[in-house]
Amino acid sequence: MLELAIKGSKRYYGWIALLLGLAGVGFLVYLKQLDFGLGITGMNRDVSWGFYIANFTFLVGVAAGGVMVVLPYYLHDYKAYGKVTILGEFLAIASVVMCITFILVDLGQPMRVMNVLLYPTPNSVLFWDTVVLNGYLFLNLIIGWNVLEAERQGVHYQSWLKPLIYISIPWAVSIHTVTAFLYCGLPGRGFWLTAILAPRFLSSAFASGPALLILLCLIIRRVSNFDPGWKQIQSLAVTVAYAICINVFFLLCEVFVAFYSQIPEHMDHLKYLFVGLHGHGAYVPWMWASMTLMVIGIILLVNPVTRKNELTLIVGCICVFFGCWIDKGMGMISGGFVPNPLHEINEYIPTLLEGLITIGVYALGFLVLTLLFKIAVSVKEEVRV
């Protein structure tokens, strides 16, 4: 099926070239980082994780979000999703590729990454994160590829795939749970030390992942002869609507616990993010933008009139996606590290160079996504004809 990825229109090749260009720029800047060290980023002694880990965390969510089409189709026999499950699985693959790349570019000594497998350390959550992320990548590759191949041949997929499909469903939950456990098991980081972190991560995942999938489906409708289906898009929109409501509810639960208990270690991080602390508040406008976007998203997606209108649906999904990105990406990491354990404030602002590397990683991910979606859509077009 790979040949389908290299047969495309001029527009398709133009898009590929653009992504390759951006990824190339990112790679060149990464060579600079490899040479100089992570000192080219805005990270420091106090905020020792930054933009890379933030985007990693967010994208684990997008990857896990793919399960929102896989689960109804395979577990509840919701036939309509038969058309889009492959898109969910391929989106998961591209997202995990980005996650793994973000982890790699964040390492101080990337050439030693195999030490994680050479000296396996079960007490480290990062070890488990490596296991579940790579496992999820392979599960989706094997399942997605074989199911699509079978569809192309006009046969039912192999029976040995069924157990893998069932495993992939709780596995999707596990990748984001383990990612949340990276943060919420650390003593002395009041912002992350909350049992609701994993549920919160999952709710934002099930909002942002399907929101992106809706946007991608709408793009596919425009640029190809394959129609993922308006009914499917509408079902996904309902998922997004519920998930984003739950996500905001969980966030408000956090706010209540912190501010009613009045425990400074829990309040101060939220204060820093939303109103500023001791005169430092670089993230205040961003956090309020995130809240506004999520609320607009809720209004547009919960209301059936706006959900069923294509234009307002698109706006709603974009709001949800970027609202979650700011909240989970920028706020979650910076908010946890500021103020530091000695209650000092050292703010973190990403540098231009780390921004370019980040864009490069996204370009790489979208390149993988484009190639996979091109294959999937071409097969669907073939089968339909």
Partner: protein
């Protein structure tokens, strides 16, 4: 055609097996492997079940009292000096009471003398260290023999999970090559490369030679060092006869640095 292809493959397989046989047989025929070299302990080495430090903060009046200690530590451990704060590396430094004990004890309406006193902070060599739990490669580990939380600079992949896990902000990361920023290199201690984490090691290299940690030596008696689980040790005596506090005991990490206030 098919038969001949099969024949060729068979021959290839057989030759590969024949070629690889000698080293395998050699390995099997060889006697028991030579005993691994053992790392001994010097006669004069200082040992303990859990090293601990007691800092008599009453004897520190101003920055001038702590500077020689920090200087001694950073000098023998090749800790670089950066003017750019983002790249800062520190093993031992001083801060105010309010920072050192934030979340631990009351920091309001302090006596003016305490508020102005410098408080030394460093890795606490916790009995239950969260950084060790977090490390995905065992590059940071708690040495069984004496409880020192150590770093293997050559195994560290630079993921900085330990820095997020440490509730005391005791760890630093080499955001760039530190070597040009070490004024005088001490050839007896390794320098680091970019991309790895480092922190105080309770001078394990000095203990192995029977010497006390550099900061303790430079403190002229203001810092005491000894075995926490030896009832006769000086540190136990001090803890027993003085009111001491530790940083963030509520987190259950059991820090091994005690402060007399």
């Amino acid at each position: 055609m098919d038969t001949s292809r099969r024949r060729v493959l068979q021959l290839l397989g057989l030759s590969a097996a024949a070629l690889s046989a000698p080293p395998v047989l050699d390995a099997l025929a060889a006697g028991p492997p030579a005993a691994e070299p053992k790392i001994g302990t010097a006669k004069e080495a200082l040992t303990a079940r859990q090293w601990a430090m007691v800092i008599d903060t009453r004897q520190f009046k101003s920055e001038a009292d702590v500077a020689p200690l920090v200087e001694a530590c950073h000098k023998i451990h090749n800790v670089p000096k950066f003017d750019f704060k983002r790249w800062e590396i520190k093993w031992l430094w001083s801060t105010h009471y309010e920072q050192a004990f934030s979340g631990t004890t009351s920091t309001r309406f302090l006596s003016e003398e305490v508020a102005h006193r410098p408080f030394l902070v460093l890795c606490n060599h916790c009995e239950n260290p969260p950084c060790v739990r977090a490390c995905p490669t065992k590059a940071t580990f708690k040495r069984e023999s004496d409880g020192i939380v150590m770093m293997d600079f050559h195994r560290c992949i630079g993921c900085r999970f330990c820095m997020a896990a440490c509730p005391f902000g005791a760890r630093s990361f080499n955001y760039r090559d530190p070597r040009p920023f070490v004024k005088e290199t001490n050839q007896l201690f390794p320098t680091r490369m970019k991309g790895v984490v480092e922190k105080c090691n309770f001078c394990n290299e000095r203990l192995a030679e029977g010497k006390l940690p550099a900061c303790v030596e430079a403190s002229e008696g203001k810092l005491k060092f000894g075995d926490l689980f030896d009832e006769q040790s000086e540190v136990r005596e001090l803890i027993k006869t003085n009111y001491t506090i530790r940083r963030k005991v509520n987190l259950g990490t059991e820090p091994a640095v005690y402060y007399i206030v």
